[in-house]
């Protein structure tokens, strides 16, 4: 979508002022066209979501009794994982004072807010009675429920991150650091609860186990690294500016973080299978659905290929300096991660609960296909992130890093 913006660049030194003016005009046209297009998607997604609420999820959504969680849940997971990752990456600079990460910190915080908002946008249409949620989450909390903790902590996290961003814009770095730290803590706590939402369901063998919360945190960092690289690159294209050496340096370091985390997740994935094959029949069936079954394309091509192996190779090749290559790798990785979340959520439910009863009704794998309503809401959520990002770049002048930021610590 936003790619169209980057067709023209102002980098060539021989361009005359007149040409620059023309290029600027085209850039501005492309910018507003993209804004318009993204807005349309958000409107369409919202309309689909509202329509779904009116006609009921039974008719509007693809989720069923047996597979109650569909693409809206996995997209929610995708957004909140990315947000947590961005928050963690940004905190390396802002909260923990690692200078290399400073130049990308502000944008990371902003994007963390944008993605968590998109997460809430999608979940609003997934939850059947979101207004009841606002009431009973407060007056009737169940403290043993991971999903309660997750929702509540993410709510707090969203507020802290928004406040942190506001303070950064206002130049109150000392307080921003404190709020940022609280934001990181609530984000990580929320995130491990998200992992536990899945990991503590002992009836669903594919998810069950202590491994989930750790996996979620690691893969959040991976998503965050990818997102910040892609969006920083895009931002400079949008603003038509040369990247400063400090920002380049920050992305170089982020590339290294990305390489490390992809490798860790690849190992995690391998071990998940090795351990899983020592498990019960239902678990093995789910793993086979990924390896050789109906989810094999998603798994091998999208998750492993597009999401991890190719980005890993490209990151290494880029040496952290070839920005276009890094952006391409990051875009691929984010695309792959979207399906990684999808597979995690769906494949966890495709083996019938009563499979081992060996009854006619539950012989093979169950299937789930997202409905158009669901897809529209997902696209609406993605467009929302794009929209907020683009508007943010203009409104906050490219989230410029000021030299004195580091001195405040």
């Amino acid at each position: 979508m936003a790619e169209s913006v980057s067709t023209e660049t102002a980098e060539a030194p021989f361009i005359t002022t007149r040409w620059t003016g023309a290029v600027e005009a085209i850039r501005s046209r492309a910018y507003w066209l993209t804004i318009f297009f993204l807005s349309l998607l958000v409107v369409a997604g919202t309309a689909a979501g509202v329509h779904a609420k009116l006609i009921g999820s039974l008719e509007a959504y693809g989720a069923t009794r047996e597979i109650p969680w569909g693409i809206l849940i996995s997209t929610y997971v995708f957004f909140v994982v990315t947000s947590t990752g961005l928050c963690l990456v940004s905190s390396i600079g802002h909260v923990f004072g690692v200078k290399d990460f400073m130049p990308i910190a502000k944008r990371s915080v902003f994007l963390a807010v944008a993605t968590i908002v998109a997460g809430f946008y999608v979940i609003f249409f997934e939850i059947e009675n979101p207004f009841r949620m606002a009431i009973y989450n407060v007056i009737s909390p169940n403290l043993t429920s991971n999903i309660w903790w997750m929702g509540t902590l993410y709510g707090a996290y969203m507020v802290f991150m928004a406040v942190e961003f506001f303070l950064l814009v206002k130049g109150n770095y000392r307080l921003a650091t404190i709020i940022g730290f609280i934001g990181v803590v609530s984000g990580v706590a929320a995130h491990s609860n998200l992992g536990a939402v899945f990991g503590m369901l002992d009836g669903r063998e594919f998810w069950y186990g202590p491994f989930m919360p750790i996996y979620f945190i690691t893969s959040a960092m991976m998503s965050g690294a990818g997102a910040i690289m892609l969006f920083t690159w895009l931002a400079y294209k949008i603003n038509g500016e040369q990247m400063e050496p400090e920002t380049k340096r920050a992305l170089e370091v982020t590339t290294k973080v990305g390489i490390l985390l992809i490798s860790v997740i690849l190992f995690f994935t391998a071990w998940k299978f090795i351990i899983g094959f020592a498990g019960g029949e239902a678990k093995i069936m789910a793993l086979e659905a990924l390896l050789t079954g109906p989810y094999a394309f998603n798994f091998w091509v999208l998750e492993i290929g597009v999401g991890m192996v190719i980005p890993l190779v490209l990151y290494i090749q880029s040496k952290g300096k070839n920005l276009s290559l890094m952006a391409l790798a990051s875009a691929m990785m984010i695309f792959g991660i979207f399906f990684m979340r999808y597979d995690l959520v769906i494949v966890g439910q495709v083996v019938p609960l009563q499979y081992e009863l060996d009854v006619n009704e539950y012989q093979g794998l169950l299937s789930y296909t997202p409905s158009w309503h669901e897809i529209a809401v997902v696209l609406g959520g993605i467009a929302l992130v794009g929209l907020v990002f683009m508007l943010g770049e203009k409104a906050f002048g490219g989230h410029r890093h000021e030299a004195h930021e580091g001195g405040e610590h």
Partner: protein, 251 residues
């Protein structure tokens, strides 16, 4: 565990579901009483199930002090799939056609010498350690402290469907009409609270498959059957640790 993966040394019950005495003793000696795989569910014990599932009787009473402690024993081999229970349930509890609170599953035994097909009634297990209750963010799903029935407070249900993901027995569905998750509640609101002693399904069953009663009362039929040392009794998916109150037996 499906039936094809039976442990070779495991005794087979005769047509009444009774395991011959000699074999039973040997079986118990093998220490497979808990892990044995049996007739489509997991065999808990060929002897007293309650002692195995819930430790000793006193401990059981201390841990689950429900009075009455509602429970159901399903005489699986007696089910003829007439589905009158399902109809009665629909009518009594206003269950829409896209959902169900109870259902009959079909299990085929091609290798069987006698009847080749067996029908398995399933419903919410009213678990003592319910995964759905732990997972529900707003306490919309809760375990009634008097009678142990797992209930849903429609007003509090936000429709996040976590309980549906958490339940290992597929006991729940989302009801569009009531805007809440719905499940079997042993007809508490529609019958028991109005003085009836049986659930709609138990009353409708012509083959007396569904025996409903109070597990805390040693005189009740559910108690007697669950503690019958001659018959195998089992529950669905015991490995998930939810501790069901729906028991299965034969004969």
């Amino acid at each position: 565990m499906n039936t094809s993966s039976r442990i070779p040394d495991q005794p087979e019950p005769d047509k009444n579901g009774v395991i011959p005495e000699m074999e039973r003793r040997q079986f118990l000696k093998l220490g497979l009483a808990i892990t044995g795989i049996f007739a489509g569910g997991t065999l808990l014990s060929a002897a007293s199930v309650v002692d195995k599932v819930f430790a000793s009787r006193q401990e059981f009473a201390d841990q689950y002090p429900y009075k009455p402690h509602y429970s159901m024993v399903i005489r699986q081999d007696n089910c003829i799939d007439c589905e009158r229970c399902i109809e009665a349930c629909r009518a009594t509890n206003h269950v829409p056609e896209y959902g169900y609170r109870t259902r009959i599953l079909e299990q085929v035994h091609p290798e069987s010498a006698g009847r080749r097909i067996e029908f398995i009634p399933v419903l919410c297990n009213q678990c003592n350690n319910p995964a759905c209750v732990r997972a529900c963010p707003t306490k919309a799903t809760y375990k009634n402290q008097q009678n142990g029935i797992v209930m849903v407070d429609k007003e509090k249900c936000i429709g996040c469907k976590t309980c549906m993901s958490a339940c290992p027995n597929n006991g729940r569905y989302y009801n569009e009409e009531t805007k809440s998750v719905d499940k079997c509640n042993f007809c508490f609101d529609t019958r028991l609270s109005k003085g009836e002693t049986l659930t709609a399904c138990a009353e409708a069953c012509p083959a007396k498959v569904r025996i409903f009663g109070d597990l805390s009362d040693p005189q009740s039929e559910v108690y007697q059957r669950v503690h019958n040392i001659e018959k195998a009794v089992w529950v669905q998916r015991p490995e998930t640790g939810v501790k069901p109150n729906i028991f299965y037996t034969k004969g």
